[in-house]
Amino acid sequence: MKKILINLFLLTSFVSCPAYAIENIFSLDDIEPQPSTVEQIEKAEPLEATVQFDWLDINQAQREGQINHYKDLLFNENSKIYFSGEEFKKNFSEYKKDRNFKLHYMLTNNGVTEDEDAKYCAFYYKKNTLVMYAIQYKTNTHNSFYYTAFGKLYYVDVTSEEYPNFPYTSMQYDRKGKLKSAIYFVSKDLQYMYGPNKEFQGVWYKDKMYDKNGKQALTRTNW
């Protein structure tokens, strides 16, 4: 960082100052380091309410009630759920192919999760081979794009305006604009998942997913 600042200082000095004769050149050691002008921007934490997870403690009727409650929140009249093929193509045509797929594949395969342009996530087949990577560009945080090894778009996540504040919704579409899943993010630890036909798939609480009967179905290593 210090090296970059020094280089920037030299560059601006070079551009803005007139040329000097040889006898006027001075050593870098004589220059006092400039104070950093880069403001330290504090990263705001997303707004999140404290939520109780009681899925395992309530009865089946109460679970059904919660399932219907979150389904209504996700699939209401005002939700933009389905894209037509043309609409999807129009909105996401520039992301159809990742032109930097080799770079992004290499980054994610080497464990990079973030750089100055985007955040990355890797998906492996049998813990061995990276088969898909996801990109969330910092200039477009309401969408995440999932690509295969050759940079072909596979899925698109569309999050609601509230993101990154909770609660928010996330809809996942395939490359033709067909809805694949809908998730209601109550908090970082708690999400309700539904399929494209509004069928309940499960509730994630931290690293475990539970089905409608309160039975554990899946686990995850990263949330």
């Binding site: 049998k126 088969v131 090894a149």
Partner: protein, 225 residues
């Protein structure tokens, strides 16, 4: 049920257990190992097909019969899984619906992924040369390394593809005097070895890669005593 649906079911049955994204990743890895002319990409990485536990057991001295059986079983299963996945990806890219590629489909795939890295090179004379190479590769693979004995039905199926992938993982064993001392199975595909294998794959007639294909075929079909 119309013919299209029937054929698509055939593809899924033929290559059941295959994962098309994995096949694509595999294609990407080996494609990245060479440039248009078949020279090694200096930035390409070794691709590990076998698991770390397999590699660990394979590198142990004094393996028991059970150890060797276990290694063999996992090797064959992994190779077949990779072969089906790779074929599934090729099938998707070429519009194949049966899981068994004919020459035209194989050629289409190779032109799109292997020989299109530098499109400016695709002049008629070069194209003719490339098509000959692809034909040699196809013949070598479908004949399991015996390209003077081509089968009647000229299709590249999952058995052929498994032989090809296994052959990529066979390397020459040299003794202390740098003399040939048989073959050994690696758990990975190393770029510098892939370059050599590909060169021989594209060459007509019997050669080292043909020998590797024959060994791979026998190995995968338990034809070694």
């Amino acid at each position: 049920m119309d013919n299209f649906s029937g054929n698509k079911t055939t593809l899924l049955n033929e290559l059941s257990g295959g994962n098309v994204e994995f096949g694509e990743a595999f294609a990407m890895f080996i494609n990245d190992m060479v440039d248009q002319d078949g020279y090694q990409n200096p930035y390409a990485k070794t691709y590990f097909i076998m698991s770390p536990s397999w590699l660990k057991l394979a590198n142990q001295d004094n393996k028991t019969k059970e150890d060797n059986d276990k290694l063999n079983e996992e090797f064959c299963e992994t190779i077949r899984d990779t072969a089906k996945s790779y074929l599934l990806f090729i099938a998707r890219e070429t519009g194949n619906l049966t899981g068994k590629l004919d020459f035209t489909q194989y050629e289409k795939f190779m032109m799109k992924y292997r020989f299109n890295k530098d499109a400016s090179r695709l002049q008629p004379e070069y194209l003719a040369e490339v098509k000959t190479k692809i034909r040699n590769a196809f013949n070598k693979i479908i004949s399991h390394g015996e390209d003077d004995k081509l089968p009647e039905v000229k299709l590249l199926d999952k058995e052929c593809m498994a032989d090809f992938i296994a052959a990529l993982m066979i390397s020459v064993n040299l003794n202390k005097n740098d003399e040939f001392d048989g073959f050994k199975i690696e758990g990975s595909i190393v770029p510098r070895e892939y370059v050599v294998n590909e060169h021989f794959l594209f060459e007509a007639g019997d050669n080292m890669f043909g020998a590797k294909l024959r060994i791979a075929h026998k190995m995968l079909n338990n034809q070694f005593e």
